[in-house]
Amino acid sequence: MDDYTLFNNAPIPMLILDLEGNIRQANAAAQAFYGRSAEALLSVTLTALAYGENQYLQERAFRQVLRAQRSWEGLIDQLASSGMRTVRLLLTPMRDADGQICNVLACALDVHNLLNAQRTLQYERDRLEAILESANDAVLMIDADGTAVTVNLQFERLFNLPRHIVLERSLTDLVRQLRAQPDLPPDFMNVLLNFSSDYTQSASYEFEISGTTRRVVRWYTEPVHTYSGALLGRLFVFHDATHELALDRTKTEFVSLVTHELGTPLAAIKNAVEMLQDDPSSLLSEDGRQYVQIIAQRIELLETLVKDIIALTRIEAGRIELRRAYHPLSAALDEALNSVRGIIQARKQQLILEIPDDLPVLWIDRNRIAQVFTNLLTNASKYTHDGGTLLVRAARVDRAWDLPENSPADVRLPAVLVMVQDTGIGIALEEQVRIFERFYRAEDARKRRIQGSGLGLTIVKSFVALHGGKVWLRSAPLQGSSFFFTLPIVEGQ
């Protein structure tokens, strides 16, 4: 077979061009591809076959072949019989007997469908990757040889492991390196190791990551197969369950609060009422007077608890709105004293009030500030022995150096500073940071069986904060506690 027959019968469209780019020969495949007869093709240049702006690109490629005397290969959109098609165009210089370039051979391989398929595939891959990256769970996939092939963003975040450390490494190799990271729990390595060569079992459990914040991670792992049943590898999914577990704990704490803190006062009320019912004449005796007092006190306690629960629910839902007006501080204090004076008197405690007459009026929600006083005074009384002393003192503070020692740095001034002081059991230093947390109760308070919901100070803190104020304390075991809070003086409202 001579060169010409080869050229003419080649299944790939081929053209022979002169040095000006004019088409001199076109094979059968070229005639079919471009949808033009040999004569028609011989009357045009290669440039005329390119589509739109590709003409310029193709022209440049042709000149480059002549100038550099080297082949050129690239993707060009051309006008074919079926419309615009992308071809892989190969331009090769042809030399005469003297080695001079006399012609250029152009081969156009139609890659249009191939490229489309590749684009679809790429799009599909991007889509899956985007889904994987935006998943809330950390994902690690190993192939059937135990090499890590996929991790997502959440995996990098949860374990603080950049993917370049993880990918393309065998799990055993990876674990060896990870052992050097002190924050990663051994349980995590064990999960990886146990299943690095096992492609049959599914498993799930949880482990903890310590470090700056403690996280509980629930994980599961499963072998992955294609639809046809071929083994692809193993998938590990790690779910950060810290928040869910905290919610569970809150629920449990709430149930325990309701059973204990509601049950005990209710028991006393119920029993006192029974005593009065069974012997109505006792109402006039000393015993009867005590029954009524117990009922009154316990109802007060329940009322406070119900108010606290409602307040906390609103705070957590972010639905607290202050109903502010100008009030003297004493208005809120008096309202609180109406409900706590009974408790203080029952324990024969002395209450000292040092409220100057010339305090400025405050732009406050009176009921909320009354609840702040109620909660602080109830605590002061509860944690102080019978016959102890409680002190409420208020003063105007204009400059930071007039604040007591160890006050927070960011107190808004000018403000009215209030101190509620007791001579009670005090709070250990290490517990003082947690005392404002919801449901938190000091160890000593629990041991002494002093009732409390662990809500009071949480509410105090948020109500004071809503007014732009700060709350803090000074205390030591067996030396009493002083709670301070500020209410900024808002001028010109």
């Binding site: 059973t259 005990t264 028991a267 029993n271 005593m275």
Partner: protein, 122 residues
Amino acid sequence: MSYILLAEDDRSLQFLVQRKLETEGYTVRSTTDGAEALALALSERPALLLLDIGLPSATGYDVCRAVKQHYGAESPPIVIISTNGQDADVEAAEDIGADDYLIKPFSLRDLAERVRDFLDGN
């Protein structure tokens, strides 16, 4: 005369239970402390014990367990009082030999009836 030992750290409730039992004609001795309750129970053998679970220095469970071990079959009846009404808590009380279990808030009439069943049945 033999008495009922009441260990309850809520003073109001203690006062009410004591008064109720006294109006029923029983002698009652009250304490708010677990260790004190245990000492009294081991030295004087009360006719019946009413024990709150949450007591300072020793829980009602501790007292119950020790008293039952000390007296064996001759042990006075013990009634546990608690706010924990879950099955597991009742079972825990039964496991250590408690004879009865009252959940707060309970009725004094009900309490008096149970005490009567224990003491007057003998």
